[in-house]
Structures are given as structure tokens and as C-alpha cells.
Amino acid sequence: MGVLSQASAQEDSPPATGRGGRGGNLREFLGLGAPPDAAAAARGEKLYTANCAFCHGEKGRGAEGPNLVRSTVVLHDEKGERIGPVISKGVLEKGMPAFSSFAEGQIYDLAQYLHLQVELVANRGLYKRLNVVTGDPKAGEAYFGANCAGCHSATGDLSHIGARYPADQLQNRFVWPGGGGRARKVTVTLPSGQAVSGTLKQIDDFNVSLYDASGEYRSWSRDAVKVEIEDRLEGHRQLLEKYTNQDMHNVTAYLVSLK
């Protein structure tokens, strides 16, 4: 998985991969306009912190002065052309003084800093999970021993697992290791009694298809054959019904410790 599984949108998600997936493509989907200029935003941050944060909050989310991330002036601005006049003339009737000494380049930098704050809110493809390692590794080890050790081993298939994945990805992966590309083994028994095993390609209520051991594609109508699909995730499926949040966090803490 990527940084985050795609958050479901207000209605349909854009596709989880490919166009509109996340990060850059998601911002295209969202119609956010030109990406913020990172170097200018970094310069702008210093100006903002020194001059604006006192009233508008550390990240522009408002304090005594209004929230700038949700400001329609900011959202309609591209390069400081709308933000600039407000800064240099002030909004005297609302108590904002004029900051007339900023150079044009500094206005641009401040605007880019604000656009970056908007970007970090609006573009959910850039969200990062925070600290997920809050559990008790000892309790996690005990849980692992009782529930997972039948199939997995901390010194075998999961050795150094904590070094192989970021903690948040590790948590999602052990809770449900599925994924689009997972190969499933299938056995199709024909009316003659002959059994054909292979990698499942497609199954619906009407047809089943597979690639057999020699790589040949084969398909049958479901009404003539018996189909058995191996479910290697049955153990994970059963645990989903049992985990408490605490169990999940404990196991995460344990797996993270397997560096």
C-alpha cells in the first residue's frame, strides 16, 4: 500500500491507483490549481511566523484573527494578487493593521505559505498517519503466541518484519494482508472426476477460469464443475472478529520491535 489507503471521498473515491489515485493525481482530481511553490512557502513561513501567527494562529487556522486556510480570498488567490492588497492595506475596521513594508516577493512567499497550508488540508493524498505504536509489546507477543504462531514465526517468515515496513503499514498489513494482486489457488473438479488445480483468474456466479500448472488458461461453466478456492487468509478473517483495538495495538508494538 502507499502512504495511506485512499480515504473514501464524499461520494465515490477516485480510483485507488492510477489516475486520480493519490498525491499529485489526487490534486488534479480535486482541481486545486497550481501546486504551491515549496521554496517560496519555506521563506513565507518565516515571515508568517514573525508577522501573522500571533493573530491568525500557528498554521493559519485562526486565533484572534480569522482562519486563513478556509478564507475565500486565499482560496481564490494564485500568486498573491488577492492576498497582497489585504496584507498591505490591512482590514482596519476589523482590527488588522496594514503591513505596507512587504516587498512584492515577500507577498508572493506569504501567499505560497498559505497555499501550502490549504494543500495540506485539502489534498488528503498527502495525509500521513501519526504514531501507531502505542501498545504493549509484551502483551502483543503473548497475543501473537496464542493466535498467530500457528502459521507465523517471529524468527521465520516475520523475522525483521519491523525493519521492513513503516509501523502504520505493518499494522494494516497484519490486520488484513489482502490486496488486489493476491494469487488464489483453485481446484476445479470436472464431471469426469478429473481435478484441475491452478491460479484463479476469475470467478463469478456463471464461470470460473484459471491458469493451470503449465500456464495454460482454462475456463468452465460453473454449472458443470465443482470449485474449491483455498483461503489462506481464513485465520486473519477469524481474528478480525476477535481483536480489540488494544489487541491490535499490542500486536503492532510487538511486530515493530522485531527489527
Partner: protein
């Protein structure tokens, strides 16, 4: 003139003009049950493609890829009218021949989907992704006027099919990336001017404000209105589902129930005034828009006839209400709902704070995106069953913005797994009468809708690209056609020249079916 006539008979229940399909849901009830019987269980083996229309010349759309028809075509006077974001078409309902195409230049907003058009006399109504409300001439697709409804720079976007009720056109908005407030508007069908607006969150001092911590929270509290509602002409009430509150996954800056987000509301059709509400997801923190169709039907409940409203919502809850009063009759999970810990005195779920999204993750037994979504359900009065394509599974909710004043989504759901099922729900109890598990594939947040007919048929699609007819009584499969990719809208039906047609879209193609060998 005929269209005006069609309009007059576009009313609730028995008087439905079964010949046509003049609104998103076919009628005002949202049942998506057609009384047509020419296609029925005894001849369905002869149901075959009459024609198909494939969208050409549009190409990949910004951020979403190839065109996908999510709209339900209107059928009026032998013409089908349907849409994708930025585009509308009229095609001959008998032959599939294109009559006209209308195109809007992409200027922003989200191109995630478009549900279709509204029609009033000779005029069509269309919402653009950047929230222009556009009227077109049904005859030639020429634009009559355009009115701005919301600002795409604030991350509003518009997808819904305008709903014509009496002498007004109801339009709603979408958008939850930047914490904007939701609203529903009534617009004049002749001029497009505003007649009334109902805000989905209160303003300072208004009723409902007590369910928010401060004016800033409720004025940025979300509650979008992106799906068409339903209407009871006898009660003169329109019924609408409202979207999730904002910030979406981060509720710490908006403590309280957050009325009237994630609710079902009844509004006076003339004034837009709130008559009653029921909130299936108080203080939602899972992105569970409650916009799924509020389906209206009259049926017996506890031994007496009632005017009812049923909904299967994204939060996994089946709700049955008395639609005159809003009285709660059934609240029951149709998939796992351990995000809630009980039901309050009003019959509304009580969310479990322990299963809200957390920095280190909260596991719930409802899949990412919810137990269902916008694809239309159906209620069959002959079986008394409510049908919905749903998803069973698990997901983990994360809080990614732990600021006391979070913004935007502020978190994420997903992970876990999601398995698609077709459910038949007994409206009296919320119990599952039958369930069809699709053998493979997933539904995401866009999947096939459901149609039932008096021909004792239920039409929907599976994740593998089949259009399937079931026996609505027991879920037996009676017919199928491999349509190529997952059905992407709600199937619909109409009569034309003495022949019944079934319509379904799959991706960029609209398919029409009829009984072979009849004419």
C-alpha cells in the same frame, strides 16, 4: 405538450406513469419499482440487446479517467437523456441514435460522477462539476441559461440530478475537502433564480446550534446534499439525506450531534422549512454521508397501514420511519455496525467513542466507505423487501490531524476488507430475508443500483461485469448478460411502441434490452 402530460402523471405510487422514466428514480417515491410486466420471469430467457450507445470523443476526464455513466437516463417522449460530468446526451430510446450532445468546458470541481438531469416541460436541468445550474432545451440541447450555485474554489462540486417538484427545481451540492457548509436550494424552473435555501447546519442562535460547540464549527460543518431526494405530494414534504459533517474523520473540534448532518430530513416543499428530522449518524466520524435514497412506500406496520420511509445507509443501518411524523420504527444494522453502542430514545444510533478514528487506529466491522453508498436501492411492494447492494467487511479509522481545530478530512478510513453482497431486507424488522454473496470482486464506492418490476424480476449487476436478473422473492438467478464491465448506474425501464425496454450503463456504454421475437 405530451411532456407536460407526462409531467402531470408523474406522481406518487399507483398513478405512476409506467411508460416513461421522467426522474432520476423513475418517480417521486424512490422505490425504483416498475409496474411493467412485458418482460417477466416467464420470457426472460428471450431478453437480448436491442442496441447500445457508446460515448465517443470525450476521452479521459480530469482525475477520473475514462467516462463512466453513473446517471440514470430520463425517458420522456421516446428520448433518453443522460449525463457524465460536463456532458449530456439525448438519444432515441428506440434505436440508440444520438440526437444531440451538450458539452461544458471543464473549469474546476470534481468530475467524480453525475447522476443525471431533471426535466420540466421542454426544459432540462443539469449541474456542472463547478456548480453551475444549467437549463437546456430538450429538443436540441441548446443552453437556455446558467446560474452559479456554489464556489468550486472552496471545493464545492456538483453531481446531482436536479429534482423537479411542483413549480421548483431542487438542487444540492457536494464537497468535503475544505469544511464548507451544505445547503439545498429551490430554484425557479423558468429563470433559475433562488426561491428558498435550507442550510444543513444551523447558523448562530438557530435551532440545532446547541449540537455544535461554536458558530465556526457549524458554519464549516459540512452536510452535503449530493443525491436527489424523494417527495410525497399528499403530505407536501420532500425527503432528503444529508452528508457527513466536517472535518470528516476528525470530530474533536465539533463535539455534539452536529445537526442536521448525516440525517434524513423532511422539508415543506413550498418553503424549505424543516418539519422533522432523524439522524442515523449523530456526530459522524467515518465519512458516512447519509444521502442514500429515502425510499417512500405505503404498507402495513404492526397491523396498521402506514406511510413509511426506508433507507439503507452508508453507516450500515437500515432505518424505517413513519414519514408523516418522522417516528422511528426500525433501526437495524444490515452489515456490522460496532461503531455504535446502542440506540437512543428517538431510535437513533449512539456512536461509540471507543471506535472513532484514532491516531493509532480503530478497527470497526464496517468496511471502508461504508456498508453501501449512493447506488440506488429498490423496494418491491409485491415482496415487501428492500433490496440493496452492500459491502461486508472491516476497516481501520485513523485520525491524521490531532489539532484541537482540525481541518478537511483530518483522517482516513479503509484497510481491512470489503466483500460485496446483494441483500433483501424485510422492511418490518430490518432482518435479512435473503442474501446473495458475489463470488469475487469488490464494489468500491461506485457499483450497480437495483431495479425491481412487477414482472417478478430484480435487475442489478455483479462485480464481474454481469447484468443479472433475480427472482426478487428468493434471490434465484434467472438471467444474465456479460455486459463487459461492472454496471455503473441504476438500471431502469420503460415502454415504447408497445415494447418494454431495460436500460443499464456499464462504463462509457449505455445498453438497451428487449424481448426478442416480439416485433
Amino acid at each position: 405538450m405530451t411532456m407536460r402530460c407526462a409531467w402531470v402523471v408523474l406522481v406518487f405510487g399507483a398513478a405512476l406513469s409506467a411508460q416513461q422514466w421522467p426522474t432520476y428514480n423513475g418517480d417521486y417515491s424512490g422505490r425504483r419499482f416498475s409496474p411493467l410486466t412485458e418482460i417477466n420471469a416467464s420470457n426472460i430467457d428471450r431478453l437480448a440487446v436491442a442496441w447500445f450507445y457508446r460515448i465517443a470523443g470525450v476521452g479521459p476526464q480530469r482525475g477520473v479517467g475514462n467516462p463512466t455513466i453513473k446517471s440514470t437516463p430520463l425517458m420522456a417522449n421516446g428520448v433518453l437523456y443522460f449525463t457524465i460530468p460536463d456532458h449530456a446526451w439525448a438519444v432515441d430510446a428506440r434505436t440508440g441514435e444520438e440526437i444531440w450532445q451538450y458539452s461544458w468546458r471543464d473549469q474546476g470541481g470534481h468530475l467524480v460522477g453525475n447522476r443525471g438531469l431533471g426535466i420540466y416541460g421542454q426544459w432540462l436541468y443539469f449541474m456542472t462539476p463547478d456548480c453551475w445550474f444549467v437549463s437546456l432545451n430538450a429538443k436540441d440541447g441548446k443552453e437556455r441559461w446558467r446560474k452559479k450555485v456554489a464556489d468550486e474554489k472552496q471545493q464545492y462540486f456538483c453531481t446531482m440530478s436536479p429534482l423537479v417538484v411542483k413549480n421548483e427545481v431542487l438542487v444540492g451540492v457536494g464537497g468535503d475537502a475544505m469544511d464548507v457548509p451544505g445547503f439545498l436550494e429551490s430554484r425557479d424552473p423558468e429563470t433559475g433564480d433562488l426561491k428558498w435555501r435550507w442550510n444543513t447546519t444551523p447558523r448562530k442562535g438557530e435551532p440545532g446550534a446547541e449540537t455544535w460547540p461554536n458558530p465556526q464549527a457549524m458554519e464549516h460543518g459540512g452536510g452535503m446534499t449530493w443525491m436527489p431526494g424523494t417527495y410525497d405530494p399528499e403530505l407536501n414534504l420532500i425527503y432528503w439525506g444529508t452528508g457527513n459533517p466536517n472535518p470528516v474523520f476528525a470530530g474533536q473540534g465539533r463535539k455534539g450531534a452536529n445537526l442536521w448532518t448525516a440525517s434524513i430530513v423532511a422539508l415543506n416543499a413550498d418553503t424549505g422549512k424543516l418539519v422533522w428530522y432523524h439522524q442515523p449518524s449523530p456526530h459522524d466520524t467515518h465519512d458516512w454521508d447519509n444521502v442514500e435514497t429515502p425510499v417512500l412506500f405505503d404498507a402495513e406496520f404492526n397491523g396498521r397501514p402506514r406511510k413509511l420511509l426506508a433507507q439503507a445507509a452508508r453507516n450500515g443501518i437500515f432505518t424505517l420511519l413513519d414519514r408523516t411524523t418522522g417516528e422511528s420504527l426500525v433501526t437495524k444494522g444490515f452489515v456490522g455496525v460496532n461503531w455504535m453502542k446502542g440506540v437512543d430514545a428517538k431510535g437513533q444510533p449512539i456512536p461509540d467513542p471507543a471506535n472513532e478514528p484514532k491516531v493509532d487506529g480503530s478497527l470497526i466491522n464496517t468496511p471502508g466507505g461504508g456498508g453501501t453508498n449512493w447506488p440506488p436501492p429498490s423496494f418491491d411492494p409485491e415482496t415487501g423487501l428492500f433490496y440493496v447492494n452492500a459491502k461486508e467487511g472491516y476497516s481501520i479509522g485513523y485520525l491524521t490531524d490531532d489539532d484541537p481545530e482540525p481541518q478537511g478530512y483530518g483522517g482516513t478510513g479503509g484497510g481491512g476488507f470489503s466483500e460485496p453482497v446483494l441483500l433483501a431486507i424485510d422492511y418490518r424488522t430490518g432482518n435479512i430475508a435473503w442474501k446473495h454473496k458475489y463470488p469475487s470482486g469488490g464494489f468500491g464506492n461506485a457499483f450497480p443500483g437495483v431495479l425491481t418490476t412487477a414482472g417478478k424480476l430484480l435487475f442489478t449487476g455483479d462485480p464481474s461485469g454481469n447484468l443479472i436478473a433475480y427472482d426478487p422473492g428468493d434471490g434465484r438467478i434467472l438471467w444474465r448478460f456479460h455486459i463487459g464491465q461492472m454496471v455503473s448506474n441504476g438500471p431502469s425501464t420503460y415502454m415504447l411502441n408497445g415494447q418494454q425496454y431495460l436500460i443499464a450503463a456499464a462504463g462509457d456504454t449505455l445498453f438497451a434490452f428487449h424481448i426478442l421475437g416480439k416485433k
